[in-house]
Amino acid sequence: MLELLWLIPALPFASALVLMLSGSRFPQKAATALGVGSIGISALLTLLVAASFFIAPPADHSYTQLLWTWLNVGGFKPDIALRLDALSLVMVLVVTFVGFLIHVYSAEFMMEDEGYSRFFAYMNLFVASMITLLLGDNLLLLMLGWEGVGLCSYLLIGFWYREPANGHAARKAFVVTRVGDTLMLIGLLLLFTQLGTLQIQDLMQRASERWPAGSGYAVAAALLLLGGAVGKSAQLPLQVWLPDAMAGPTPTSALIHAATMVTAGVYLIARTHVLFSLAPAAQFAVAFVGAATLLLAGFSALTQHDIKRALAYSTVSQIGYMFLALGVGAWQAALFHFFTHAFFKALLFLCAGVIINALHEEHSIFKMGGLRKELPVAFWTFLIAGCSLAGLPFLTAGFFSKDLIIWEAWSADHGHPGFWIAGIVGALLTSLYTFRLIFRVFFGPLGTPVTKRLGYAMTIPLAVLALFSFGAGYLKAPLLNFLHSALPATMEAHAGGMTETGSEAVAAVVFLVGLYFAYLFHLQKRSLAEAAVLNPLGSLLHRWWFAGWGFDWIYDKVFVQPFIWAAQVNKSDFIDAFYSGVAWLADLFYRGLSRTESGRLRWYAAGMAVGSVVFLAMVLFR
């Protein structure tokens, strides 16, 4: 069964090609069958492959399928080869499975959109690229998938291209992630020049043989890869693009900007964990970036009006948790949180899509309200996913995965009590902003009236995802056990007066505190929230957090404005001055020489005579 591996990316890719080439000539049903069907078959194949991987694990717990040699130039020989191991299998399972559910949902969600088959072409291309990224056996193939998902992200953010703001958001996402991609490319080149290969397994082996722990090369390479991961996963300082990326259709936000693509950075670091283990400084940077991001994004999520932007900041914050886990060496915990996060965050976005659709494109949570009775399916699924995100103790998936990270942020060998505190504060924020959304949207007086109900194609994915958001936590032990063959277990170092149960108890208390304050501010006494925003300090903080800590403002002043200024100053390109100078010189010579062309015979004869004399003199008196 493992031989079918290549079909998993190939099917969505083929379907994307067909849909793109056909334009909008296909009838809607055919486009649906192709777009959703290809992902469905891919998901099914992934299940088959996973089953055979479980039943009869291949030697060394990894299976490599060599398709062909990409190129072979001067010792540089990257293959088109797919590598399946526990890490990539888990990721591919989530991508195809959640991707399939979101495609089913989109079939109804995008029903009335004129770009219907274009949408599915992009989505299929995205899934194909994402699987290539995950299964790529060498970093170059990974980079191909990496750029592919970046392209699809750009195309889908700007899907409704008639709105100039959407195009702006798409370009912003593309340019900001490109900063990270460039760093990553430099990292790849560094690795190749130093170690002579890009094949991931060889690379890791050679790195640990040749580079002692903490060596300059290892730190530089790891930091450069971190740069790429930070760009793609919207972490500090490149997190600014993700909130704006919500301009795309909601299924896109669910699939690309919440569940899968933005976790590519987590995957990259987990994939190259050997390298990061060799570079403690870089690993500390990962943890620090994660901790800082999860706090900053958590505060920003508290202040957003737009339901999708709030969820986007929440995504940034949750990926911050994954980075924190990677940074402290809790590789498996990061993957486990990715696993649960994919389900509940995709579900939250899909619910948000239902709500926005039902309220006729209303995004502001302050104009919503009382939807509990109006949209019961959305309410219950959103509640389950929200509880999972906030970490409803001892029941939901999010609790298990997040609290594993929080605990290991202290207890792992690279852990630190500071990280633990950041995690706990982050958990408080998560609980606050999640229930703020729930209380604002579903409780209280009825806001904007509901104009549209959802059909089966949208209900079923919601239900299935809700089941997983709730139940995925019970897969903790088998999943961590399974990942063991690909990722090392966390090295427990110092418990420092704290036990796992104690940490979980604190997290549970923090959850309840967040729930209570959200209840107080956003349901029971809404005047309190308004008062908090109105007092001077509160309003300053609110505006600061609302604008995402002013990063956009800083980047605008530091990068965008000087660039625009330079472009305006240099409107007539200064390099052009050189070329127009050449043209001017040629013109000058032309005028001078055409003056000598007087048409006078004697003048020509004199010219010839003088010329002969000059040449003779040159020959004689050389």
Binding site: S598, G599, L601
Partner: protein, 102 residues
């Protein structure tokens, strides 16, 4: 047969050539221009003959025969052109014939 010193011969040729060139540049009448050309050609021919005499080679005189032939054809073409020009422009002043200036 007394030999003429080469220096004197070449000096004469040079003087003749310079005279021809000067009159070519000074004269405006096309007939005189052609005549000055003849002088210059003959000066060159004289230089060949003198050089041939110096090294006792026949080549110098052979070259002179070539030059004579060329001068004859040049005169034929040149005079024909002069007649045609005179017919068309009613003048032989070369300075007025500057229609082909750039």
């Amino acid at each position: 047969m007394t030999e003429v010193a080469m220096t004197n011969g070449l000096l004469l040729a040079g003087i003749l050539f310079t005279l021809g060139l000067t009159s070519l540049l000074v004269r405006r009448n096309l007939i005189f221009v052609l005549m000055s050309l003849e002088v210059m050609l003959n000066a060159a021919g004289l230089a060949f003959v003198v050089a041939g005499a110096r090294w006792h080679q026949a080549d110098g005189q052979v070259m002179f025969l070539f030059i004579l032939a060329m001068a004859a054809s040049e005169v034929a073409v040149g005079l024909a052109l002069a007649v045609e020009i005179h017919r068309r422009f009613k003048s032989l002043d070369v300075d007025t014939l500057s229609n082909m200036r750039g």
